[in-house]
């Protein structure tokens, strides 16, 4: 059956700037905001936008991601004639087969998957953004403007613009120029890395780009500039609302803290649910001596200590007399009695033994940063993990 639009979600990146948090898992399956993993946001957006066919391109450490996505049931993507597909690199007869060498190459290698749905348009998404977006609205504009490609853009401040790919528009409103991290930006419209392509056009450019030995096979660096110089119509879709790239420790921590303010991004909206594959656990227990202030807590947690300005994922245990402040605790993390965790991210199933101290208050210096412990680590009793530290799984602390 012919589809109007299918989505391809780029989930193969390592997310190397998340260090210990992506040592064992791909970035899209990093826990986020208490109940979610990062990939829940684009997957839920697809389901809510009526896009029922999603190819998830995996490459780096895909095991957890594969089992998390499963048949797509939590996002109502377990449909016949469509659904969610995990697409790892593969080998064809007579070919050596190769890893995805860039975002464009990843799509190129899956041309036959896309062809099997014969779509008019293809939506390209990345698996490291936190936002709610109606792709069907973007698709409508894309069709109206008869664009070869529509790029979702966000208005940023001129200072921030130097960190993004910036779209400069012509008088007709179409994109005229694309500049990656310009030193002197001419516009404040930043690319969000979300594209809708006319599939026939994209197919041509992917094949041409693949045969270009100088290309790094990347959408932003190669495909978009090539389309622009060929005079294709590229339309900027202006997105308004909450959008965060969570590719670094600081941005991941910041965005988690944003979850404490529902006026920034409302996850309570029944019309636009962000779904997740949640474990089955009982309601959380707030103990006799618990103090929970300006924090979010979810199922399976047992809190007996003091929790403030923090995000607790399922099955987190905070012991008696423990203090947790401005921190993100990932599923199954344990903070034993008397331990202190502040300005920190504590990975899945990591145990902070009693009397240990993770992180420190900001001291105004550049050296200060959020302390991060990867998953499955034991922070021994009495140990101190300083501000900005990065503790990897397997390290002894």
């Amino acid at each position: 059956m012919k589809k109007n639009c299918i989505a391809m979600l780029l989930a193969g990146g390592q997310g190397s700037r998340l260090y210990a948090l992506t040592q064992k898992v791909a970035k899209p399956s990093v826990p986020f905001g208490g109940k979610y993993r990062i990939i829940d946001f684009p997957l839920s957006n697809c389901a809510n936008s009526g896009i029922d066919t999603v190819g998830v391109l995996t490459q780096y450490r895909p095991l957890q991601l594969n089992s998390y996505i499963g048949n797509g049931q939590p996002w109502d993507l377990d449909v016949t004639d469509g659904g969610v597909y995990i697409l790892p690199p593969y080998q064809s007869a007579g070919e050596k087969g190769s890893w995805f060498s860039g975002t464009a190459n990843a799509i190129y290698q899956n041309i036959s998957f896309i062809e099997s749905y014969n779509p008019e348009n293809v939506l390209i998404l990345s698996g490291d953004h936190i936002y709610k977006m109606d792709y069907s609205d973007m698709l409508r504009e894309h069709v109206e403007k008869e664009a070869a490609c529509t790029i979702s853009v966000l208005q940023v401040s001129m200072e921030e613009a130097t960190r993004f790919g910036i779209m400069n528009l012509g008088e007709d409103g179409y994109v005229e120029q694309f500049e990656e991290k310009p030193k002197q930006p001419k516009s404040d419209l930043a690319s969000m890395g979300i594209y809708i392509f006319n599939w026939k056009k994209l197919r041509e450019y992917l094949i041409a780009d693949e045969n270009d030995p100088k290309s790094s096979k990347d959408f932003g660096k190669n495909i978009i500039p090539k389309m622009l110089s060929a005079g294709e119509k590229l339309w900027p879709y202006r997105f308004k609302g909450y959008w965060r790239d969570v590719g670094t420790i600081t941005s991941l921590w910041d965005a988690n803290m944003d979850m404490l303010s529902p006026d920034l991004i409302n996850l309570y909206d029944p019309a636009w649910p962000i779904s997740s594959r949640s474990p089955v656990c009982p309601p959380h227990y707030a103990g006799e001596e618990s103090e929970i202030i300006h924090s979010i807590v979810t199922e399976g947690c047992e809190v007996d200590g003091h929790v403030e300005n923090s995000v607790l994922s399922p099955n987190v245990i905070i012991g008696r007399g423990a203090t947790v402040n401005y921190s993100v605790l990932m599923p199954g993390a344990v903070v034993e009695s008397g331990a202190i965790v502040e300005y920190a991210i504590v990975g899945e199933n990591t145990v902070v033994r009693s009397g240990a101290h993770v992180g420190a208050l900001p001291d105004g210096t550049d050296a200060w940063g959020v302390a991060t412990c990867g998953p499955d680590i034991e922070i021994r009793s009495g140990a101190a993990v300083p501000a900005g530290a990065m503790i990897y799984t397997g390290e002894e602390v």
Partner: protein, 370 residues
């Protein structure tokens, strides 16, 4: 194929649950923040690999149907077998009111029972608040060669209504009715493993004699005829919910860590219908003491010894003690509630004061605004 087939009794109206069963059966009573009582029986079966299950119901079962759906949450939505909802389809002509007993309920769905391909049936009460590990019971039943294995408690639950006395050979020799004394026999949890042939014989005999009760008639006759029956003692928390007081007490028991560990062990999770939920938010002045709180709540006030279901809002300055607030409850600013059970979607306006008693908690029916 697993040689065990589950039957859950979810028809009980339990009138002493009063307003709480106004539009539902005891089995679909919300419990412990996010569950329905029947989740325990369904999860026990699922965790023992029993995926072919019939649920016997009679009336007021809309909320039960809504909760159970296709049975997916318990992996019972199967291509063959799986979950079957069993409203009456073979009622005797004279039948007018509620099922008067378990045998009558079974006879009302006798065609289903006769077609069960498995050799053994596992019978559980839909309103039994217990996480029973059925694996050792199934093993014991097969090895003992008994026709019936009765699941019993290791303590005397409130309102235990009958007990089994064992002989020196370890087999059940006698059933005692309406006994709460601690010293004789094992209190029954009204859960059984029974050979299908044995159950069908009981159903047929009772029907011929115009009898309806599983215990008073069928089991008593079975024992009198020298049938082989064993007992299995379930080592954890267990209480049948038939009254408001029992419901309230069992809810408050879940605040005790020891009971919670018995009811929600990590290796035998209690499964339930998944809702789209977000985390619970605690405000700047929230106070929480000894409480269970489900997802999607906003706690701005103070809660102590409370069970808060999902979607509840506790506004600033509100003080709740010893309360059960079911799904979607809203407690306004500075309201004070003590020993109140608020059914789903109740709201209490600012400054409301409502106090019950631990022995007689105040029940606010579904959807009422005060």
């Amino acid at each position: 194929m697993n040689n065990f087939h589950g039957i859950i009794f979810a028809y009980s109206a339990a009138p002493e649950l009063r307003e709480l069963v106004g539009a539902r059966t005891a089995a679909s009573l919300p419990f412990c923040g996010r569950y329905r009582l029947i989740d325990f029986a369904l999860s026990s079966m699922r965790n023992a690999g029993i995926l072919d299950v019939g649920i016997i119901m009679q009336r007021d079962y809309q909320s039960l149907l809504d909760h159970i759906g296709s049975g997916k949450a318990w992996d019972m939505s199967r291509r063959s077998g799986g979950l079957r909802m069993l409203p009456p389809f073979g009622l005797p002509e004279y039948h007018t009111g509620n099922y008067t007993g378990t045998i009558e309920a079974l006879n009302a769905v006798s065609t289903y029972i006769r077609d069960i391909p498995q050799k053994y049936l596992v019978l559980l009460l839909g309103n039994m608040c217990a996480n029973i590990d059925l694996v050792p019971v199934m093993r014991q039943h097969r090895r003992s060669g008994a026709e019936i294995t009765a699941i019993c408690a290791d303590h005397t639950p409130a309102q235990s209504h009958h007990r089994y006395v064992l002989g020196e050979d370890g087999l059940v020799k006698q059933i005692l009715f309406d006994r709460n004394d601690e010293w004789e026999g094992l209190p029954a949890l009204e859960g059984y493993i029974i050979n299908k042939d044995t159950l069908l014989k009981m159903m047929d005999e009772c029907k011929a004699r115009n009898q309806y009760s599983f215990h008073k008639h069928a089991v008593a006759a079975f024992l009198a005829e020298g049938g082989k029956m064993c007992a299995y003692v379930h080592p954890g928390y267990a209480v049948a919910i038939r009254t408001v007081e029992a419901y309230y007490q069992a809810s408050m028991d879940m605040l005790k860590t020891e009971y919670r560990r018995q009811m929600f062990p990590a290796d035998r999770p209690v499964r339930t219908k998944a809702h789209e939920e977000v985390s619970t938010y605690y405000g700047e002045r929230a106070v929480s003491r000894n409480s269970l709180v489900a997802d999607n709540c906003k706690i701005e006030g103070s809660i102590e010894n409370c069970i808060i279901f999902s979607g509840a809002r506790i506004e600033k300055g509100a003080k709740l003690r010893n309360c059960i607030i079911m799904r979607g409850g809203i407690v306004g600013e500075n309201a004070e509630l003590d020993c109140v059970i608020a059914d789903k979607y109740c709201s209490f306006s600012s400054g409301t004061v409502l106090k019950g008693n631990a022995k007689l908690p105040t029940v606010v029916p579904k959807g009422v605004s005060i």
